[in-house]
């Protein structure tokens, strides 16, 4: 009973202490890092599931850190929305930790301790951003996640250094804008607690300083989530990051940022303010349309598997931002469901890319030749991920797109529907091209000068386990998406839209 009550704090504390344990354990024996990381992620995942269960049973939880009452103390607020995001984040990071073992041993043999410490700290930051109910606390956790993210990306090959540096510069601008926006809110209201801000702000909706705060926060978060045209740091950073880091960073960081955007818009400002009083929604949906088209078309132009996936992330961010700003019940439902689905889909595809790098040493599309024969299980799981990305029923990706399209019809935003359909078509072309290369083209030896032939066979067990689990989840979540929407997501969609 005690543990159940403390679960909202434990889900942060376990990985935080885990990071220390990994660092100390790694001093004595490098092989201790991996099991410790798995243990920390598992503990955190269990705490997240307990928390979500509690919410579904009894309603939203407010957890007072150190017993200080809000608005003076820091409060963790967990409702259906972030309960769902918590479970998704901790689940994907658990699978990413399982995947990491062989990949890290191959790519970063001398930096294992650092890698796992940063890995666990990044998850701490992401989970913290998700649970916190305090605007300044959010900034601190945002920076914890960002700093560990910079370091993880810069661990990669040589080009990763330059990409990582650009990410540091742009990420810092984003976080600073957010901090500045929070400063404006604090000047006007004298509070940093989100619930408190929500109740004070309605008197100030016509105030210009509040509007400036709104814009600063929105732009800061957009920079963090790589929303077009602020996405320039993302493709290189995620392409050149170590495979195991890419599997954690690519699915989660952008998704948690999208969550933060929705949380600030709905729980600090209100649906009434952002949709009715400000007349920005239409312009933002147009921007999202541009993001979707731009991401999809540039993805089509790549001949590198990882880079192609990173441009797809840019397009997917457009889906979620656009879906939210459609300002309809279905649109927001679709955007929330897509956070979960996209985290899993992107993870599935990045794990696949990680396996390809591990086995063939490259991530060009031509490295995929003949892989269906060599590693049938991996390719089957990849096919499920690809179908989900395209939006083929009954995979999860279909259902969130379905809600997004319903929302667009409700809002009358036909340009958004058109962008969604074009992007699905482009995804279909992209993935069928990959399937064609991997299925029909025989393996040719590109690496001239390589004396010995590289023997490619099925991926190692730890990689396969996480890939198969996530592929199965894509189908299971697709089949149960009606229940997820009815029992969890509908509670967090603002009424009256």
């Amino acid at each position: 009973m005690m543990i159940v009550k403390q679960a909202p704090a434990l889900l942060i504390i376990i990985p935080l202490l885990g990071a220390f344990a990994i660092n100390i354990g790694g001093w004595f024996n490098k092989r201790a890092c991996y099991p410790l990381a798995i243990l920390a992620m598992l503990g955190s995942f269990v705490a997240c599931v307990i928390t979500l269960q509690q919410i579904v049973a009894t309603g939203p939880i407010s957890y007072r850190l150190g017993g200080w009452a809000p608005p003076f103390g820091i409060e963790y607020v967990i409702d259906h929305f972030n309960g769902l995001v918590l479970v998704t984040v901790s689940f994907v990071s658990l699978l990413a930790a399982i995947f990491a073992k062989q990949s890290v041993e191959q790519e970063l043999p001398h930096k294992m301790v650092q890698f796992y410490t940063l890995f666990v700290l990044l998850v701490t930051g992401l989970l913290g951003m998700t649970v916190t109910g305090d605007a300044f606390n959010l900034y601190v956790l945002l920076e914890i996640a960002a700093l560990t993210g910079y370091a993880l990306i810069a661990l990669g090959d040589n080009r990763a250094l330059v990409a990582g540096f650009n990410y540091v510069i742009l990420g810092t601008i984003g976080a600073s804008f957010y901090l500045l926006g929070v400063g404006h809110l604090y000047i006007m209201t004298g509070s940093l607690n989100m619930g408190d801000l929500y109740s004070i702000l309605p008197h100030l909706y016509t105030n210009r300083a509040i509007f400036v705060a709104f814009l600063l926060i929105l732009c800061g978060i957009w920079l963090k989530m790589a929303f077009f045209p602020l996405h320039t740091w993302l493709p290189n950073a995620y392409t050149f990051a170590p495979s195991a880091a890419g599997c954690l960073v690519a699915p989660l960081v952008t998704k948690v940022s999208v969550y933060i955007m929705m949380r600030i818009m709905l729980s600090v400002f209100s649906a009434d303010y952002v949709f009715n009083i400000l007349h920005l929604a239409d312009a933002i949906v147009w921007l999202a349309v541009a993001a979707i088209l731009f991401g999809s078309i540039l993805a089509l132009a790549q001949n590198d598997l990882k880079k192609m996936l990173t441009y797809l992330i840019v397009a997917e961010v457009g889906y979620m931002v656009g879906g939210f700003w459609l300002a309809t019940g279905y649109g927001i439902t679709g955007a929330i469901l897509h956070i979960v689905n996209d985290a899993l889909m992107t993870f599935c595809l990045f794990v696949f890319a990680g396996i390809v790098v591990y086995k063939t040493g490259g991530h060009k599309l031509s490295d995929l030749q003949g892989l269906y024969r060599k590693m049938p299980i991996t390719m089957a799981a990849f096919t499920i991920g690809a179908f989900s990305m395209i939006g083929v029923p009954p995979t999860a990706g279909f259902f969130s797109k379905w809600y997004l399209i319903l929302g667009a019809i409700q809002a009358g935003s036909y340009h958004y529907i058109a962008a969604l359909l074009i992007s699905s078509l482009v995804n279909a072309i992209l993935f069928f091209r990959i399937i064609e290369i991997a299925y029909f083209e025989p393996k040719m030896d590109h690496h001239a000068g390589h004396a010995e032939k590289i023997n490619i066979d099925e991926a190692p067990l730890s990689m396969l386990v996480s890939l198969i689990i996530v592929a199965l989840c894509l189908i299971i979540i697709g089949l149960y998406s009606g229940d997820i929407v009815a029992n969890i997501i509908l509670h967090s969609v603002p009424t009256g839209l």
């Binding site: 900034y139 330059v162 601008i173 400063g183």
Partner: protein, 127 residues
């Protein structure tokens, strides 16, 4: 003009912020970019600190607060400065030092690999 002078702290922070932003986006040398980043973050720290500055005010500790005659002492909010923005900025300073550390570490690694810190020369080597 009156408006400019009465809000001079905001103008200073905006000026500093733009200097930092310019250096981050326009400078060619990576260390200059890092310096710009530092100025940018410091501008925001100064902004926070300046909003709680107050003339003739002191730290919010009630003098002679112990004992039984506390109840009679009148506490006037105008005599005390709000400590919260300063405390928040302690955290922000820690964060900005952390960011500076990571950025400089990456610069160091870049210099080891490319033997230069000029962005255009690095791009040339990447081609």
């Amino acid at each position: 003009m009156e408006y400019l002078i009465s809000h001079y702290n905001y103008w200073i922070y905006i000026l500093l912020m733009m200097v930092g932003l310019y250096a981050m986006l326009a400078k060619n040398n990576l260390v200059k970019k890092v310096i710009g980043m530092s100025i940018f973050q410091t501008a925001i720290i100064l902004f926070y600190v300046s909003i709680s500055a107050k003339r003739d005010a002191t730290i919010p500790i009630i003098a002679h607060g112990h004992g039984h005659d506390t109840a009679h002492a009148v506490v006037e909010a105008a005599h005390y400065a709000n400590p919260l923005p300063h405390v928040l900025m302690l955290t922000a300073i820690v964060v900005s030092v952390g960011t500076l550390g990571v950025a400089l570490a990456i610069c160091l690694a870049i210099h080891r690999r490319y033997n230069t810190l000029e962005e255009d020369e690095i791009q040339e080597q990447l081609q």
